[in-house]
């Protein structure tokens, strides 16, 4: 009974449950270079991803710093326009393809999915490792492109600019992204098969933690969307190499077709980024309010609905680009369909908190931050799906602010929440709570200070991707840059205290938060190399906090 109380504090005093000092775990059972770089263990592969995505995040953040520094003054006096264009391209490419898309599925998903399913590993451990190497190969090409001169097409590679008019490294970048696509596909494939085939006895679909549903929906999009961007980038490459005009109007091609194919992937890609974060939030809200997620079935269904709807709304990125007005109306109407499942999730979380027992540990602060920012990001999407207002706001800073609220305020904050939540499980050690709370607050405040002014800038008409801008926009841009500084501090802090905690933190118990899913109740912190001593048998719904109390299952292995 009272173990939960002790365990919760995560202090070293929880001797009752923590006897793993001497135990073999996945981190210490063998420690050669080969055992890391050729590992087939999903947990170690997750850590490999953690290291490279963190590196990429810092790199992409540095480019964001260049952008914000340049925009302090209206004149282009900090960097040249060429370097500015290369900076926002690099920022976009790195953040979208190398951080946001893989972050939660490849790090958190890889680590938690088999644990949550009661499986020894993912279905195809070797393919899991291969996908990390494919990611590395893609990253190498792209970094090579950046180092050897950069690319200035924007992350969208719109034709005919990217195919005919630029002489920067479009080819190397496109090749990198083409390769990277396969990493994404292989991860998604692996997860779907794992969820279908590797569940523990008794773990029926509606007993799955909601994070698993979210990862499932994400994987479906990865599987069905990514090949289209791969072939589209291949066409861009071939067009550049051979001068075939598939997207070049001078040679009979249609540049709008490129946009169609590009957004057919890149709109669903937004949901590849946000769905896992939505899944993480379910876990956090439930755990820290000790209540089952309100409306489980609706939330699970809404994840799948978002995955399906994401494929039918892509042309809302093209309302001003010469799309037929009839198609514009069609896609505008469909776009609203995505709003409904997103709304369901937010309302359900509120209902989960209602009458809960809420504790404000740092992961919960990130979850709160996520709900707030995701709500603002989602609601401002209404302006952009509405035809009458999108015409004015399209390609302005309003759009920039909107998608940063969703992709950074949503995905990155959700990712930080997930890292703080599962860090004790990953490394068996607790981080210091105080700096974590400070970081959560700094990220929230800094984020809003950075991006809220951009809504106003956008409505004023400031176009995106501008190196110089009219003087009247300067004040708001100053706010934005100041906010970026705060945000930067909020992001850098966790790198230090989490890394420190991974090696020197206090020992964590197997279930410091009192969570109810298999990853917490049936594994050690850190888990043993094969996760479970014996295959767990599931007999109850995922979020039942009474069971935990009654059976004292927190410490039962």
């Amino acid at each position: 009974m009272s173990t939960m109380l002790d365990v919760k504090t995560g202090s070293g005093a929880v001797g009752a449950s923590v006897g793993h000092d001497s135990k073999v775990n996945y981190l210490n059972h063998v420690n050669t270079a080969a055992s890391w770089f050729l590992t087939l263990d999903h947990k170690r592969i997750a850590l490999l991803y953690l290291v490279v995505t963190s590196f990429m995040f810092v790199l992409g953040g540095a480019y964001a710093g260049v952008i914000r520094a340049e925009l302090i003054t209206p004149k282009g006096d900090f960097v040249s326009s060429d370097f500015y264009n290369k900076s926002f391209t690099a920022h976009g490419v790195i953040m979208v393809f190398f951080v946001l898309i893989p972050a939660i599925p490849s790090v958190i998903g890889n680590f938690c999915l088999p644990l949550m399913l009661g499986a020894k590993d993912v279905a195809f451990p070797r393919i899991n490792l291969i996908s990390w190497y494919v990611y590395m190969a893609g990253a190498s090409f792209t970094l090579f492109a950046l180092i050897s001169g950069g690319v200035d097409s924007g992350w969208t590679f719109y034709t005919p600019l990217s195919t005919t008019y630029l002489n920067s490294n479009v080819m190397a970048t496109a090749t990198g992204l083409f390769i990277l696509g396969f990493a994404s596909i292989l991860t998604g494939l692996n997860f779907i098969v794992t969820i279908h085939r590797m569940r523990s006895p008794g773990l029926t679909w509606f007993r799955l933690p909601l994070f698993v549903w979210a990862i499932y929906a994400t994987s479906v999009i990865q599987l069905l969307g990514t090949p289209v961007i791969a072939i589209t980038l291949a066409l861009v490459g071939v067009e550049r190499a051979l001068g075939v005009g598939i997207f070049d109007p001078r040679l009979g091609g249609d540049p709008i077709l490129y946009q169609h194919l590009f957004w057919f992937y890149s709109h669903p890609a937004v949901y590849i980024m946000i769905l896992p974060a939505l899944g993480v939030t379910n876990e956090l809200i439930s755990t820290f309010s000790r209540k089952p997620v309100f409306g489980y079935t609706m939330i699970a269904g809404s994840s799948i609905a978002i995955a399906v709807f994401s494929f039918i709304v892509w042309a809302h990125h093209m309302f001003t680009s010469g799309l037929s007005p009839y198609a514009a109306m069609f896609f505008s109407l469909l776009t609203f369909s995505v709003a409904i499942p997103s709304g369901i999730k937010v309302f359900s979380w509120l209902a989960t908190l209602f009458q809960g027992s809420i504790s404000f540990d740092s992961p919960m602060l990130f979850a709160y931050s996520f709900i707030g920012l995701f709500t603002i990001g989602g609601m401002t999407g209404l302006f952009l799906s509405t035809l009458g207002t999108d015409i004015h706001m399209h390609d302005t800073y309003f759009v920039v602010a909107h998608f940063h609220y969703v992709m950074v305020g949503g995905t990155i904050v959700g990712y930080l929440g997930a890292l703080h939540f599962w860090w004790p499980k990953m490394f068996g050690r607790m981080y210091a709570e105080f700096p974590a709370k400070i970081s959560a607050i700094l990220v929230f405040v800094g984020f809003n200070l950075t991006f809220f002014p951009q809504f106003l800038l956008g409505y004023m008409g400031m176009p995106r991707r501008y190196h110089e801008y009219p003087a009247e926009f300067q004040v708001l841009n100053l706010f934005s840059t100041a906010g970026a500084l705060v945000l930067g501090v909020g992001y850098i802090m966790p790198i230090f205290y989490l890394t420190w905690a991974a090696f020197f933190g206090k020992k964590a118990s197997s279930n410091p938060w009192g969570a109810t899913t298999l990853d917490w109740t049936h594994t050690e912190s850190p888990p043993s190399p094969h996760n479970f001593e014996s295959t767990p048998v599931v007999t109850a719904d995922p979020y039942d906090y009474r069971v935990i109390q009654k059976e004292g299952a927190l410490v039962a292995h």
Partner: protein
Amino acid sequence: MWDFPLVPEQASTVAPEVDHLTLFILAINIGITALVFALLFLFSIMYARRSESEVPPQYHGSMLLEIGWSIIPSLICLVIFIWGVKVYAEIIVPPADSTDVYIVGRQWMWKAQYPTGQREINALHVAVGKPVKLTITSEDVLHSFSIPAFRVKSDAVPGRYTTMWFQPTKPGTYHLFCTEYCGTEHSRMIGKIVVMEEADHQKWLSEKAELGDALQGRKLFSKLQCVTCHAGESQARAPSLEEIYMKRIPLALDKGSAVAPGTTVLADENYLRESIRYPSARIAAGFQYPSIMPAYDESLVSEDEMFQLIAYVKSLKKGQTPTRIEQTTIPSALGAPAVRK
């Protein structure tokens, strides 16, 4: 430093419409966001954990609530959508009496030309209260012609025309931006929209006047020997172009094509342009495929000249097709050229 604007100038007839819709959506935004934040705050205070062994009631959902928060947002969205389409229709459909202005974008400048021949770069002078319809294209990459004060925007797509229109309501100078990323100097592809009182605008027009577009087009029409076939007679080898603009043209059915019987095409700027660049693409009923007309690509008819030809075809009234040997007088409807000072 603190007097900076937060809302752009409302300087066109659609601007207030867009702003009303924006305010409506904003109200819904603020309402729901405030609700979410308030509940988060309230629940955090009311239900903060009181003891470590506390177990709250475990319930799993409420069908009524869940249906409620699916249906109500759907209805709100539907209202926003319908209103949005209504405003969109205003934004994209120009009034019948709009003045035409042709816009060509290129890296990194905007060229504007009036049917009466005036040309300017990175600027557009228009009269207050007069609707203006822009026909836009690009010579190289994608651009986007954006006037925030008018709440309108349209991409410039190479190889085809897009249109937009506005009716200024307030004299002044407003920003013109390129909002589609177009390469190194993208942020310098800016200009100004000068809205003048009508009398001032007339004065400006007469000062800047050159040979009218339609007249230029007429010269090209003779120079390129279009008149040889488009003779305006029923026995001519090519369709008459008189009063063809905005008519529905029945298309020729030819062997193996999937053109359904009775298919017509609207003879708008895009069709006229296509028929000059790719004559065989869509042939009027009664004429042979492939077209006997040579195709006029960019090397023969530039984008600027294309606009002049189209302006001429648009101005062509019944019986005005010139004979093969130039002898008719210039039709007055073409906007007689003012003499330059």
